[in-house]
């Protein structure tokens, strides 16, 4: 999931994904400055049972990571679309978010 503001987007997982993964116990976030390609495994979320990759939604450079979620992975479950964000990325292409599914469409496919 990515939320954009200008050319910087905040990346995280949806409430639906958090529910599917179960309680997250460990977060491995990308490094600030890392250049990500769309579709690349950028973060790793570990639940009690399994490890899951989080793929970069767009091309760009990581500008910030959420240290709070690394210290307290439970934020991913309690507030995935708020305090549980993973990292911020400067979009290589400012229009990259335009073609993405919006929240209403996402809600429809995950019903």
């Amino acid at each position: 999931m990515a939320q954009g503001d200008g050319d910087v987007a905040t990346v995280g997982i949806t409430a639906y994904a958090a529910d599917q993964l179960g309680d997250i116990v460990f977060v491995e976030a990308p490094k600030v400055g890392a250049a990500l390609r769309k579709g690349q495994a950028a973060a790793m979320l570990e639940s009690v049972k399994a490890a899951s990759d989080v793929y970069a939604p767009v091309d760009g450079e990581v500008t910030e990571v959420n240290h709070a979620v690394i210290a307290e992975p439970a934020l991913l479950n309690s507030d995935p679309q708020g305090a549980g964000w993973l990292y911020q990325i400067r979009l290589a292409d400012a229009s990259a978010l335009d073609g993405m599914m919006d929240e209403a469409a996402y809600a429809e496919i995950t019903k």
Binding site: G22, D23, V25, F26, E28
Partner: protein, 385 residues
């Protein structure tokens, strides 16, 4: 997967007598050993795990195999002698109304399956792993059918585990409060004759109840009516047994691991070892008795990864951070909710299989330090007294 494909895959899976109840309890399902089983409930794996250690939890383990053995002679000791042909444990001296852990071995000394065996009147009752139950039954028929009738039992199996388990079950069957760890009794519960053992797969006190399928749902609901008892899925069952240092067949033990390598030597008593009155006489006896005498080349150990990164099954283990060749591998691993840290089990060569030894586990291309640690990771709380 398309909706039709999902339906077809689901249709091939077997269901336990509690399947509908799991649905009502809003379980997430996953296929396990050919059954459509609850992996977790809305509480989630982590909270289910913690709740069970603090209060109590109920598992549906009706997918496991239950097999009754009756001696054709009518003398239960003959069934015990027969079973000793296929296992290195002591069955003959198992007292009536008692249960014991054991395993079936192959000719290489490997573990075909692990099991519980109980003696109840004129019968021995085995509980075996779901994935192996057909093979186990065939193996028993090929090995001991001359002496025993072998009857798979079509019964539900419900485990209630945790410090609140005794109170929850004693409400329905007061007599169970007098049982100790590994006692096995016939008890009337919700009007039906059940067999109850004081045992489990969590490291906690608790009971396993074999009940007629037709009363399974009523029994489960009666247990769940106790506020302390939450339904627990297979996800937390796995993290609970891992913290308790208990083996999962197919992961920590299999046809290629011997009981000595698997650190299960405690289950082979002196009477079956060299010099014992019933020495050997089981498949793979030569190799297993040799390993008892001179040690196994590798051992199952507990591992505590340093840091927070879970080290999972399949991760290679290295003696040194820059070694090219793996010394062993992790067979079970994950995050231990009660330990609040990653925990794992795996195999290491005997020179490294020492508590306190530091090794390195490879996770996503990186070498993570881990320390060989005593098992279990959490103290067992069985009612032994």
């Amino acid at each position: 997967m398309t909706e039709t494909a999902r339906h077809d895959a689901g249709a091939r899976l077997r269901r336990t007598p509690l399947h509908a109840l799991h649905g009502e309890l809003e379980a997430k399902f996953c296929p396990f050993a050919g059954y459509d089983m609850p992996i977790s409930y809305p509480l989630g794996v982590l909270k289910e795990h913690l709740h069970l250690r603090r209060a109590a939890g109920l598992f549906d383990v009706s997918h496991m195999g239950q097999i009754a053995l009756r001696a054709r002679s009518g003398n239960v000791a003959d069934a015990a002698r027969a079973l000793e042909r296929v296992t290195p444990i002591d069955v003959l001296d198992l007292a009536d109304n008692r249960q014991r852990y054991g395993f079936l071995t192959n000719h290489d000394g490997g573990i075909l399956d692990d099991l519980m065996v109980a003696r109840l009147g004129d019968r021995l009752i085995l509980v075996v792993n779901a994935a192996n139950k057909a093979a186990d039954e065939a193996h028993l028929r090929a090995s001991i059918a001359d002496l025993c009738e072998i009857e798979p039992l079509d019964q539900a199996l419900i485990a209630v585990q945790g410090p609140g388990a005794e109170i929850a079950l004693a409400r329905l069957a007061p007599d169970v409060a007098g049982m100790r760890f590994m006692d096995f009794r016939e008890v009337e519960i919700v009007g039906a004759r059940c067999s109850v053992s004081r045992s489990g797969y969590t490291g906690e006190d608790g009971f396993e109840i074999s009940a007629p399928s037709k009363i399974a749902q009523e029994l489960a609901q009666a247990l769940l009516a106790d506020d302390a008892v939450q339904p627990i899925g297979l996800g937390a069952r796995d993290s609970l047994r891992l913290e308790a240092g208990l083996c999962l067949h197919g992961a920590d033990i299999d046809a290629g691991t011997t009981p000595v390598e698997a650190s299960l030597l405690w289950a082979i008593p002196p009477v079956r070892r060299l010099g014992g009155a019933r020495e050997g006489g089981f498949p793979g006896d030569q190799k297993i008795l040799d390993q008892i005498a001179s040690g196994a080349p590798r051992r199952r150990v507990g591992l505590r990864p340093e840091g927070r990164v879970p080290v999972r099954a399949g991760a290679k283990l290295f003696a040194a951070e820059d070694d090219d060749e793996a010394a062993g591998a992790v067979t079970s691993g994950g995050f231990g909710p009660s330990v609040n840290a990653p925990v794992a089990m795996g195999y290491l060569p005997k020179n490294l299989a020492r508590v306190g030894q530091r090794v390195f586990a490879e996770v996503r291309g990186q070498r993570m330090p881990a320390v060989v640690s005593p098992l279990p990771f959490v103290p067992a709380r069985f009612k032994r007294g």
